[in-house]
């Protein structure tokens, strides 16, 4: 925890803690941030954590997350906690949650799946079988979506 303290506190904004080690940049990518926005961002990677062994932390000055962003972060960092900071104090602390059924956020990896047909009024839907490792299956065709697929989909174009 000492290393964490070396990063200065933010006044107003968001601290995302307990990110799986090595995935902080994916989190920034999901949030659409690359540094060019001029926001103050602190990224701390691979610090010791009693829960995860090692973890990453992201602090962003002046930004609050939208619900869809929180849902996406949950899929790559299922243990993450999101702290909303107001005037240097934690105003609110939320633990992300991976819902048992994920609808609409991800695409099925199977090109022959009915959910990949542009004309059909159907939202892709996945049933989460386990969190660590993240395992989920398409509710329509049964094909598994791996953690790598999920990261790739959520961070594409970043």
């Amino acid at each position: 925890m000492e290393k964490e303290l070396k990063v200065s506190k933010i006044r107003n904004g968001t601290v995302i803690d307990h990110i799986d080690a090595g995935r902080a940049l994916h989190v920034l990518n999901i949030l659409g941030l690359n540094g060019s926005e001029g926001l103050t961002i602190a990224v701390v990677m691979n610090v010791p954590s009693s829960k995860l062994g090692r973890k990453d932390i992201v602090k962003i000055e002046g930004v609050e997350l939208r619900q869809d962003q929180v849902s996406k972060i949950a899929l790559i960092a299922p243990s993450a906690t999101i702290n909303i900071i107001k005037d240097y104090e934690v105003a609110e602390k939320v633990k992300v949650r991976v819902p048992p059924v994920i609808e609409g956020l991800l695409k099925c990896a199977n090109p022959n799946c009915i959910t990949n047909q542009p004309r059909e009024p159907v939202k892709p839907r996945f049933i989460v079988r386990s969190l660590r490792p993240l395992r989920m299956f398409c509710s329509f065709c049964g094909v598994e979506l791996s953690q790598e697929d999920v990261i790739q989909q959520l961070t594409k174009g970043g």
């Binding site: 022959n112 159907v122 049964g142």
Partner: protein, 307 residues
């Protein structure tokens, strides 16, 4: 157990449900063989929507419905081609749902039957989708084994052929796991071996299985050999196909080492993977299996529509 239920994948059914289906099939078979006319589904209509060509499955469903006094409507080929011009599967299913009491669908796309079931108010039966599910074929296969051996438990079963893309084989393997077979041999060329998710499923269910690349060695152990076709199209290189096909032909010579009561099954149609010389032997259960297609589907339709 069945009333108003969709039939999408075989693993949606419990052992008890399948045993109930087999009991009902026995009753129907007895009635059929004694020439009794049945009319349990008089006044009911079944719609068939086959977006992929199929003669056997479609005719077998239609015969089953008619033999129970019900009626059939079929989505004509023109309608299927008009769909290619723009109508969605969703709209087609809504239309059929307004006409019929039950819908049977076959589709090239995976998950199409499940999607149809979510749209339709009436029960939907999957007549085969993509490379994954063919639950009614599996019900027929399991019923055939039960007739051949009295039980599915304790048997050693070989599944031969295209285990990767063949939906009948995949569905059959999953179906076996609902019972307690002694062992399943998964016999295929390496390029067409069983998908990891199916293997995981067997492991989770505690089913003993082994993958094999030839049938010769395991044959003497088998009580059931389920043969499926290896399609030429699965091989990018025709030379590769010619090399493997010979090793997956089941003929009398091969069966010399078989147990006396080995039952050979095949979902049909066959090409040359199953020699005609087997037809006269006691191993040939595939014609009976085809014959059971109608009574098993009769039992299923009756249980779904009448409970």
């Amino acid at each position: 157990m069945f009333a108003d239920k969709d039939v999408l994948t075989i693993t949606d059914f419990s052992r008890e449900a399948l045993e109930r289906l087999f009991e009902e099939t026995d009753v129907i078979l007895n009635a059929l063989t004694s020439g009794k006319k049945l009319d349990a589904l008089n006044g009911y209509i079944m719609a068939t929507a086959f977006f992929e060509p199929s003669t056997r499955t479609k005719m077998s469903f239609q015969t089953a419905m008619l033999r129970l006094g019900g009626a059939c409507v079929d989505l004509p080929p023109e309608e299927i081609s008009s769909r290619a011009k723009g109508e969605s599967l969703a709209d087609t299913i809504r239309m059929l749902d307004s006409y019929a009491d039950v819908i049977v669908i076959r589709h090239r796309l995976e998950g199409a039957a499940k999607f149809a079931a979510e749209i339709a108010e009436h029960p939907v039966i999957n007549g085969g989708d993509g490379t994954r599910d063919h639950p009614t074929q599996t019900m027929i296969d399991l019923y055939t084994i039960k007739r051949a051996h009295g039980s599915i438990d304790g048997l050693t079963v070989g599944v031969l052929g295209d285990l990767k893309y063949g939906r009948a084989a995949r569905s059959f393997i999953l179906g076996l796991s609902i019972f307690k077979p002694k062992k399943i041999y998964l016999i295929s060329p390496p390029q067409l071996s069983c998908r990891p998710e199916v293997l995981h499923f067997l492991e989770e269910k505690g089913i003993c299985y082994e993958e094999a690349s030839t049938v010769t060695k395991v044959l003497p152990e088998l009580d059931v050999l389920y043969v499926t076709r290896i399609q030429r199209e699965r091989f990018p290189d025709p030379v590769e196909y010619e090399k493997v096909r010979g090793s997956y032909v089941v003929n009398e010579l091969l069966l010399k080492s078989a147990k006396e009561n080995l039952a050979v099954l095949h979902p049909l149609p066959r090409v040359d993977e199953l020699a005609y010389s087997l037809d006269q032997t006691s191993h040939a259960w595939y014609f009976k299996q085809a014959y059971f297609g109608v009574p098993v589907r009769m039992a299923l339709l009756k249980l779904i529509l009448k409970g």
